[in-house]
Symmetry: C2
Subunit: 121 residues, 2 copies
């Protein structure tokens, strides 16, 4: 798979609620940085960060635009989460860096923290 296809498969895994498949696409030493927050390091660190979110009943990440340059893939998205029976939407732009093994080594998402807090409240 190309770097872009890897990112598309990663987002598709989240969208079908398959967290094990999504985490399995990460490098062991992955760094997941939601830019307004502290980065999570390693798959276990990412799982711990995810576990701190409210229970997610559904996921729909809409990719508006995606483009690759070498091993780097940039995305413009709206990430929707079903929580407590209500859909929440965050406008996000995020970068993925794919390593030589085809795993996600870096993931950086840019968004407005106030929008995140308002939507997840």
């Amino acid at each position: 798979m190309s770097p872009q296809e890897i990112v598309e498969a990663f987002i598709a895994a989240w969208n079908r609620g398959d967290a094990p498949a999504a985490f399995g696409m990460m490098a062991e030493d992955v760094v997941w940085h939601n830019i307004p927050m502290e980065p999570a390091v390693g798959i276990a660190g990412c799982q711990a960060l995810m576990a701190g979110f409210p229970p997610i009943e559904g996921t729909e990440w809409i990719v508006h635009h995606i483009a690759a340059n070498g091993n780097v893939v940039l995305t413009e998205r709206t990430d929707k989460f079903l929580i407590g029976g209500r859909w929440r939407a965050i406008r996000v732009s995020g970068t993925f860096e794919i390593n030589a093994e085809g795993k996600i080594a870096h993931w950086r998402d840019y968004f407005d923290m106030l929008e995140f807090q308002r939507e997840f409240a």
Copy 2:
């Protein structure tokens, strides 16, 4: 110029302080949307938005990653502004859409509003 080259030239214009050149690369009906704020519409609207910022003494936008897909160009940047003798830095991810005339028709920047307010204070 390719869409990516147009965006690189646009950023280079800002970085040399040449606002007229930068505005000249925009479509008349450009939409500039700093996602946490209301969008600015038209070149005059963008100029008015820019005029509302504190006086900028220097600009250095660092492009960490850039990738194009057709007429859409995605960027991951750190935008630095010299204001009141002190450099301020905003971490940004932004999308540019280039129209058939080679002008910037849409520009959307994603960043954390709290970081923006803290840096520009």
